[in-house]
């Protein structure tokens, strides 16, 4: 249940980040944007289907902006929880209850690059939710008593999401190795042994440093127009003074001389699995390559009729499942992830060899033009679905703007996809996924079930 404030990864969002067709209007969302005098961006995405709005405030800051190397982690996500623990005007724990009493829903989430708070309510409650959200942008009190009772809650959250499950623990380790020495190596929720050290100063410093109007974006999607929203935004957010924020530091992981292979043997595992991850540029680092990578992924692994599944699962019968995905929606480095499940009698080593062989062949032959064109069409078709929701467009627009895209980047994505050439896709295939000499050596993970000792 994503019922409430939760740690959030952007893997989930990647797939709805796609776009319209040749016949569709040039802009995907027809969003309007203004900037208030204090620097806060306001974006409105009209959608008059039901008399409701989604109101979101996105802060352009996340777990990767926490101070590094101080032996503490998880402040960004902990603050997100504590934003519900009271202001000068609203008592601790009341925020969500008030929204619920209006028939609305609310939640919040934290990623490495952004943090967002949102409410879905009937449109007549828009001024009310704005008043509440603006209040906590300025006036959070962070009472020590509430901090003390919430700290065990986030530790339970970590146990539930990660520590209870060896597969989650292993993913966390792979990521830490992949992004070694950078901010993306640290889990959003924090390391198990570092979370208990979180205190009021950590969250207060983070709040005072980053939570300010010019580092925030208001996104309102639903049964309203900019004419409705502008005066409200000016009234509730416009008077809040802004201060400067530091630069976002996003180091690049060094290239090491040898590939890393992690072998995780455990008697708690029952299913062998093969994982492989490579670093890659994000949209902010290299937009052209990131786009080509997205189209490449769709071409090779966009459904069971595409190349990787057909070759390794259907024809060679060496895998039971395989998928390839690209995480490029970030301010710093992106990554490519491959996961595969061996067929019943196949060893992980044999599966790895087959995958390498297949990638090698693809690098040599290039993609089929037909498969490549179909992948682009699918991605553009997806955009026609994108408007079929109130919350969805607010998520896509808010996320993109938060990690550093422009509204134009988001609105014209279909044309950008259309402009990717077969050569572009083949070039990134060769550059990042060549098994012989990839630009960045991969981190490889074997998950190996061990017989339980009786």
């Amino acid at each position: 249940m994503m019922r409430y404030r939760t740690a959030f990864t952007f893997v989930l969002l990647a797939f709805c980040f796609s776009n319209p067709s040749q016949a569709a209007p040039e802009k995907v969302y027809n969003a309007e944007s203004i900037t208030l005098s204090n620097g806060m961006q306001v974006v409105v995405i009209p959608n008059h289907r039901a008399p409701v709005v989604s109101h979101m405030v996105w802060y352009k800051v996340g777990a990767a902006d926490e101070p590094q190397g101080d032996g503490v982690s998880g402040a960004a996500h902990f603050l997100e929880h504590l934003m519900f623990k009271g202001t000068k005007a609203v008592a601790p724990g009341q925020f969500s209850k008030i929204i619920r009493g209006w028939g609305g829903e609310d939640n919040a989430f934290t990623s490495w690059d952004y943090t967002a708070y949102f409410q879905s309510v009937s449109k007549d409650k828009l001024p009310n939710v704005m008043a509440l959200e603006a209040d906590r942008m300025l006036n959070v009190t962070l009472p020590p008593k509430e901090i003390a009772s919430e700290l065990p809650v986030i530790i339970e959250e970590r146990r539930m999401r990660t520590d209870n499950d060896p597969q989650s623990l292993f993913s966390e380790q792979m990521r830490a190795i992949l992004f070694a020495s950078t901010n993306y190596a640290v889990p959003i929720i924090g390391w198990r042994d570092e979370m208990p050290k979180l205190n009021r100063d950590h969250v207060l410093n983070y709040y005072q440093t980053w939570y300010t109007p010019k580092n925030a974006i208001l996104v309102v999607s639903g049964d309203v127009t900019m004419n409705d929203v502008k005066p409200l935004a000016e009234k509730y957010y416009g008077f809040i003074p802004s201060h400067d924020v530091p630069d976002h530091v996003r180091p690049i992981t060094p290239d090491f001389p040898s590939p890393t292979t992690l072998k995780f043997e455990s008697d708690e595992l029952r299913q062998p699995m093969f994982l492989e991850a490579w670093r890659a540029p994000s949209y902010i680092m290299d937009k052209k390559e990131a786009l080509a990578l997205d189209v490449l992924m769709e071409t090779l692994s966009g459904g069971s009729s595409t190349e990787l599944y057909q070759s390794l699962v259907v024809e060679q019968k060496i895998a039971t499942d395989i998928s390839l995905s690209f995480e490029g929606d970030s301010r710093g480095e992106g990554s490519i992830w491959l996961s595969a499940v061996p067929a019943p009698t196949v060893t992980l080593e044999k599966l790895q060899q087959a995958i390498d062989r297949k990638l090698g062949e693809l690098v040599k032959s290039g993609l089929s033009d037909e498969a490549f064109q179909k992948a682009k069409t699918r991605m553009i078709d997806q955009e026609l679905y994108a408007r079929d929701s109130v919350m969805g467009p607010a998520m896509v627009v808010g996320q993109g703007l938060s990690y550093g895209l422009t509204l134009d980047d988001i609105e014209t994505r279909p044309a950008q996809i259309q402009a990717v050439t077969l050569d572009d896709a083949n070039a990134v295939l060769k550059k990042y996924l060549d098994p012989v000499s990839p630009k960045h050596l991969p981190v490889i993970g074997f998950m190996i079930p061990k017989e339980k000792a009786k």
């Binding site: 039901a50 879905s120 499950d165 019943p344 079929d388």
Partner: protein
């Protein structure tokens, strides 16, 4: 826990205001019926359908998972098209087709852009008339379900759900694993799939819901084209209601993990019961609302014992339960259980406050429009109403019924339902063991 919540969504979703949702009934020339909500704001169509009582309750015990495998293979080739050709035709037109089996019913859904709707309906009609069940794709789907089960075996919530089913349902068919077991899945053959397909998916147990960019006359044509060739009558298993025995119990499956996953279950209430809406309010105040609920307040907000604690009413055709789920560090398991019992008991001793009543009503009525924001959510609400045999103006009726409730109604239903002396508790983790704990050494219906 998962199961309880999944069912809950269907029941929470249906609320309010007929003015917002204009449902039309469409009848085709051949007499097939559908409910339709037209909406031309986006070029998208969503269709959901169900074959009532054709779900996993029909699976033979030694072939648990048969319905699930049918749902996985119906889109793996039909007519002249093999698996790859069929999947490519869907994929190339960005058509989302899927089938699902619950315990009770077998269902499917298709979502398409209007520009591809003819292709979509042709493919669906083909899947529902000439599915191939070729040996290879059937084997692939069985393998991938085995992978799913083995991967889930590190997920303590999944383990708890398996154990809960066995504890609650005992010998009843609901105790079987809808997803199959490691030994049952390999026994399933293409012939088993064909037999189920031929006998259980028919016009007499079919319900259809449509939302989006389609007119009534288009829907009428679609009905005959897609469903017109199905057999007239189905042959499905009739089963007895599950009986909830009144023996309290604590069942533990020990796992070496830092938390204990707790599930507490008591009998629930059917949606046809006159007190159902009072029970919705009770459940909201108790725990379904998350923040603001008494359980979240006591267990999370005041004591920091959990990240989440929820209650939920859930209902199937032959059973209704109320369950409460939470996860806490092992050493606090008893404390969480005790607080939960105290909160439940408290609701049977005194009226909820007028403020709690008002907030619950506002949410249960006011959140309805939030569900009406996308085409497939609207079709999901429609199929939920049809599946439960509810009238077209159910949402309006529900609003009126909830508005009328007073605190005495809630106390009455709390006294009736929140009977903690019969509670069944299911634990997965490493808590301190009580004398009366029943320890199980392996998960039922997994291997």
């Amino acid at each position: 826990m998962r199961i309880a919540f999944a069912a809950l969504i269907l029941f929470m979703a249906p609320p309010a205001q007929a003015a917002i949702l204009n449902i039309q009934q469409v009848t085709s020339p051949n007499g097939l019926k559908a409910w339709l909500v037209e909406d031309h704001s986006v070029p998208v169509v969503s269709i959901r359908f169900q074959f009532k009582d054709a779900g996993a309750i029909n699976d033979p015990k030694d072939k648990q998972g048969l319905s699930q495998i049918l749902s996985n293979t119906l889109d793996e080739g039909a007519g002249e098209m093999d698996s790859k050709a069929f999947q490519a035709a869907l994929n190339d037109h960005s058509i989302a087709l899927s089938f699902q089996s619950s315990r009770d019913d077998f269902g499917g859904s298709i979502k398409t852009l209007s520009k591809y709707q003819n292709e979509a309906f042709d493919l669906l009609a083909l899947a529902l008339t000439k599915p191939r069940f070729d040996k290879d794709p059937v084997a692939r789907m069985i393998d991938s379900n085995l992978v799913r089960i083995r991967s889930s075996m590190t997920d303590p919530e999944w383990m708890n759900a398996r154990l809960t089913n066995a504890v609650i349902y005992g010998d009843h068919p609901y105790a079987m694993n809808t997803g199959g077991t490691i030994s049952s899945l390999p026994r399933i053959t293409p012939d088993d799939l064909r037999a189920k397909f031929k006998t259980q998916l028919a016009q007499d147990n079919l319900i259809v819901a449509v939302a989006g960019n389609m007119s009534a006359s288009e829907v009428s044509g679609m009905l005959d084209k897609v469903f017109g060739q199905l057999p007239k009558t189905s042959k499905v298993q009739k089963i007895e209601d599950a009986v909830f025995d009144d023996q309290p119990s604590v069942t533990l499956y020990e796992q070496n993990i830092p938390q204990t996953i707790i599930n507490m279950v008591i009998p629930g209430i059917k949606h046809t019961d006159p007190d159902y809406h009072a029970a919705e309010v009770m459940d909201f105040v108790l725990g379904s609302s998350g923040f603001g609920s008494r359980l979240t307040e006591e267990v999370r907000e005041k004591r920091g014992l959990t990240y989440g604690i929820y209650s939920g009413l859930s209902e199937m055709n032959h059973s209704s339960i109320l369950s409460i789920g939470a996860a806490t560090r092992n050493e606090k398991t008893d404390e969480v259980i005790q607080i939960t019992k105290d909160v439940m008991d408290g609701m049977t001793k005194a009226n909820i406050t007028e403020k709690e009543l008002k907030d619950a009503k506002s949410y249960l009525i006011g959140s309805v429009p939030l569900q009406l924001t996308s085409t497939d959510r609207i079709s999901a609400i429609l199929i939920g109403l049809l599946s439960d045999n509810l009238p077209m103006d159910y949402m309006e009726q529900r609003t009126k019924a909830i508005e009328k409730l007073n605190v005495d109604d809630i106390l009455r239903v709390s006294k009736r339902l929140l009977e903690i002396k019969n509670i069944k508790i299911i634990l997965v983790g490493h808590p301190q063991k009580g004398d009366h704990y029943k320890i199980v050494s392996s998960l039922p219906n997994v291997e």
